[in-house]
Symmetry: C2
Subunit: 584 residues, 2 copies
């Protein structure tokens, strides 16, 4: 036992106790005959006091310490003269009588402080030092707590956590698999799972009734800021349920997490159809922390000789409250924003509502004040508001552009407070979406997703209009979870495959394994999966998932701390009976 | 909502309620005007009654059902005429008024019963049907519960569960790695972790203080009955601890599991040194459910002209109580047993203690009754006992042979009851063991294991005698967990590497990464890891870990259900810039 107490627990009531602590030197202040050392561990910081007159030997030793040295000290808890109300242990200090240096430390490559001087690259290379920073460690503590509370809730609801294998087979469709050459089966490969989708459905066939797993999943995709090659899902499936049962269960889980972790009473979650989400927000994951809904202006603004609008397939506006004061420069920046290649709008029309209620727009020469007043009314705009309008010949694309503009305005107007949470279900997703690339309908969710019963007749007449029993949970514009009711009827599954353009033979080859299992009595079932990394980063108020992952990879898929991936020995390749080609 | 109750919950107190159930047809009995169907779900079995006179339509439909059909039924709970006290729902049945076939089922390839007619191979191929059997599902339910209780205990003790990456780098030493080619870094490979050993030590450097993780680990080894290429560890590490702290913490965890899961109050665990374990049981994981300790007989039996003993480096015996009645045939079978190549003894000497106390041995011509009586006394044998003796020119090998014989006798005498648990710590493992193959000392645990402080001087004089701060938890002859206190002092680490025969350059190349991290202030730390699969199989009373794994692999590392591993497309190989060689 190296310590009797941690660095976070001593209070005034402990004064005069003799204690032993262990930890790292956070900082050292030398003040003449006194030296003060802040000793840090996971639980907090405690001030150590060394007095030249009281104990010269220990005082002299203290003056040889450096940052991040590992100490064990014994001393007496004393009340401080100058208290620090910013820290829980700020009322006391330790009058040190014994000092034992457990380990020395070379100077770290960046400061172990909330505001560190280390850039991203060096922090990742020395991640074990970066993790010493309280602000980083707190994210991992939060992650632990969230995962634990998820398990507690689901266990109480009768879910069984079942570990599914990591070494599986390559899946048809979907993203690219990571593969693992098999030494015992030369020329053959395992794949790492993109998700346990098929295995959890098999567990339903097996009668497990309620399954979950907090599980690593893998996708060999080109990486963006918010993607990692390995990520963690809260994966769930239930039998004998309809959509309503799944939504209620997991709304309950989210409510539990918000209450226990954030102290927030989540209201009953609103539900928004996918069609409404696209209509009013131009996104299937609307950020509903702020309103600023789209208003379609086709009826209002067409036919006045402004060819851009007259030829548009869609004209839509948003009303930025109180933003009429935007300068010309600010509006030019917004125009540049929507014209960025990633967004791709051709231009931006704006209209200010003046203090007297009149409207001044960038297209005044085409519109009378009367028409502009009609627009103001349609937009529900008031004096001081700024109306921003986009148009285009592809309604869906224009809506997505307007969505980006809406989010940007939300940022600029401070409407996207990270401490405020707005959650909802987006439901009634389409079964299929058209792929220009493949020139066929593709499954929007996955091919096992069940259509809404009332839309089944449309499978024959207008499959693109069929809605699915699929749902996403959206928080603050982030899709944290999503799932569907699965098809358990072989004939319906066959029809869905046909619409996807699979012949019975192709369907059998790609999905025959699951279809075969279903022959032995598949129960109605459905489920969903949450992205744990995203869920935690939302709760932590992080912009990226990276800082809630202990050892993340960079955009090249590298762990720069471990130096992975790396070259392996030729004899290892020989054993696996594979060769590297084009070896540079 | 497909059901109002499950198949496991209805009791006499529910009589007259109208309920809806869903589940699988377990069996059907047609008895003239009545048909009875056992409906099964995860929670139990409920009897459905169909009466021709009450509802002919539903009765006729019931007679078309087959095994494993998926049903939804509504009916009234009624008291049974002939109750079945063997099942919790045995007092009631459902008088079915509505029958809805949710899915038909083809005849399963084996019976879904405790005593199934399916062999191992077919059960694994149709694992999703095998998992329907209550006896298999119960193991997975136990696994869920044990993992959950481990998390609950460790969370309460302040441990943080931190997910470490699955895509890491190849480790020096140890078993063979599974590797994953990196598409984004052609010619380079990730490795799957054999354990998070280095990462958990880095988390201690990072100040995480108490870490755990229930985590998949991977070893590409040739498989035995009790090995899987992927397996699950309860991996733990603590800072500022000595061996005593670690043992106490995890003895507490085991006590918690035994109490909560098995209702057993675990006594304070005995501790046995490795030296004693080898001396008395010939094994570092002694099965202490029964005594039958080795007695060394060198002093007693040497020097009487029996050359086998006279030339032996070790002579040891065990006393099988009450086994003097063993027939000549039984003893011949024991002799064959110890002469099996896997065990490798040259022969077996036995001695019966007759009812009158005299000893009859297979080597009577060399020994007087007086010497045999001395042996009887040394063995603490009594009338009716059978003494079994092995000898050999390699003491360690002979002890291991005697250990196998002891376990076999334990089996034959019914001393290895699966419902009885005997747990202990084996401590003071040697730091090093000699490798004939490598002709050098090897680390018995791993190279970061700390020697016992009092043995550090021996590193210079007699390293083979140095004992480590390493420990195993052994239950019923199974090593369920093990770990060590780690070296946190760079100079000591250097010396340990030297003894392992590494030059400073080799040590730097193999372990420099961790040693570099340690320069920034490593705390004293230590930990251990439990094999969850083994722990669960012990609690479940299983002979193999396979049946507590949902989707295990066979001895060829194959998942015969998924058909993994398999061949992948050439374009996938091309993207990864690898080739299969010697493709048959």
């Amino acid at each position: 036992m190296y310590r009797t107490v941690t660095c976070g627990e001593l209070r005034l009531s402990d004064v005069n106790k003799t204690v032993t602590l262990a930890g790292w030197v956070q900082r050292i202040r030398k003040m003449g005959g006194m030296t003060f050392v802040d000793l840090r561990d996971r639980y907090g910081i405690t001030q150590l006091a060394f007095n030249q007159e009281v104990n010269k030997e220990v005082f002299d030793k203290a003056n040889t310490l450096g940052r991040e040295y590992v100490l064990q000290v014994t001393g007496i808890v004393e009340e401080r003269y100058s208290k620090n109300s910013n820290m829980p242990t700020g009322d006391i200090e330790i009058n040190v009588t014994e000092l034992n240096v457990l380990n020395e430390a070379v100077t770290p490559p960046f400061t172990i402080e909330e505001d560190t001087d280390g850039g991203d690259d060096i922090r990742m290379k020395y991640r074990y030092l970066d993790l010493r920073r309280e602000c980083v460690r707190k994210n991992l503590e939060l992650r632990h707590k969230m995962a634990f509370e998820v398990r507690r809730y689901l266990d109480e609801q009768g879910f069984l956590e079942v570990e599914t294998p990591v070494l599986v087979n390559s899946t048809p469709e979907g993203a690219r698999d990571f593969v693992v050459p098999s030494r015992m089966n030369p020329g053959q490969f395992y794949a790492l799972p993109q998700s346990p989708q098929i295995l959890k459905q098999l567990l339903m066939v097996a009668g497990f009734d309620r399954y979950f797993q907090i599980v690593k999943c893998f996708r060999d995709e080109d990486l963006r800021a918010d993607r990692q090659p390995e990520f963690t899902q809260i994966d769930c499936e239930m039998s004998y349920v309809e959509q309503e049962d799944v939504l209620n269960m997991f709304e309950g889980m989210s409510r539990h997490l918000f209450k226990v972790i954030k102290g927030i009473d989540l209201p009953k979650l609103p539900r928004m159809t996918w069609a409404d989400a696209m209509k009013y927000y131009g996104s299937d994951k609307p950020d509903t922390r702020f309103d600023m809904r789209f208003v379609e202006l086709m009826d209002v603004l067409k036919g006045y000789g402004f060819s851009v609008f007259d030829n548009a397939a869609y004209i839509g506006g948003i009303c930025a409250q109180g933003a009429a004061s935007y300068t010309r420069k600010q509006i030019d920046q917004l125009t540049d924003f929507v014209k960025k290649p990633q967004i791709g709008a051709k231009g931006l029309v704006y209209a200010r509502v003046e203090a007297d209620g009149t409207v001044k727009s960038s297209v005044d020469k085409f519109y009378t004040q009367e028409v502009l007043q009609q627009m103001k009314e349609a937009m529900n705009a008031e004096a001081g508001d700024l109306i921003l309008i986009l148009s285009g010949d592809d309604a869906m694309k224009t809506r997505k552009q307007l969505s980006e503009l809406r989010l940007e305005m939300g940022n600029q107007l401070g409407l996207r407070d990270k401490n405020k949470y707005s959650c909802l279900w987006v439901i009634d997703f389409p079964m299929y979406e058209w792929s220009d690339e493949e020139q066929r309908l593709m499954a929007m969710h996955h091919p096992f997703t069940s259509p809404k019963p009332e839309d089944i007749p449309l499978l024959d007449t207008n499959p693109a209009a069929v809605r699915a029993n699929a749902y996403d949970m959206v928080i603050n514009g982030v899709e944290v979870g999503g799932g569907s009711i699965r098809i358990h009827d072989a004939k319906l599954q066959q029809k869905v495959f046909e619409i996807l353009g699979f012949t019975p033979e192709q369907a059998q080859r790609k999905f025959g394994f699951l279809m075969n299992a279903f022959k032995y009595g598949a129960p109605p079932h459905g489920g969903l999966a949450y992205g744990l990394d995203r869920f935690v980063s939302l709760f932590a108020g992080l912009d990226s998932i990276r800082d809630c992952i202990a050892f993340p990879k960079n955009n090249q898929g590298r762990d720069v701390m471990l130096g992975a991936p790396g070259v392996i020995d030729q004899d290892q390749l020989d054993e696996l009976q594979i060769n590297v080609v084009n070896k540079a």
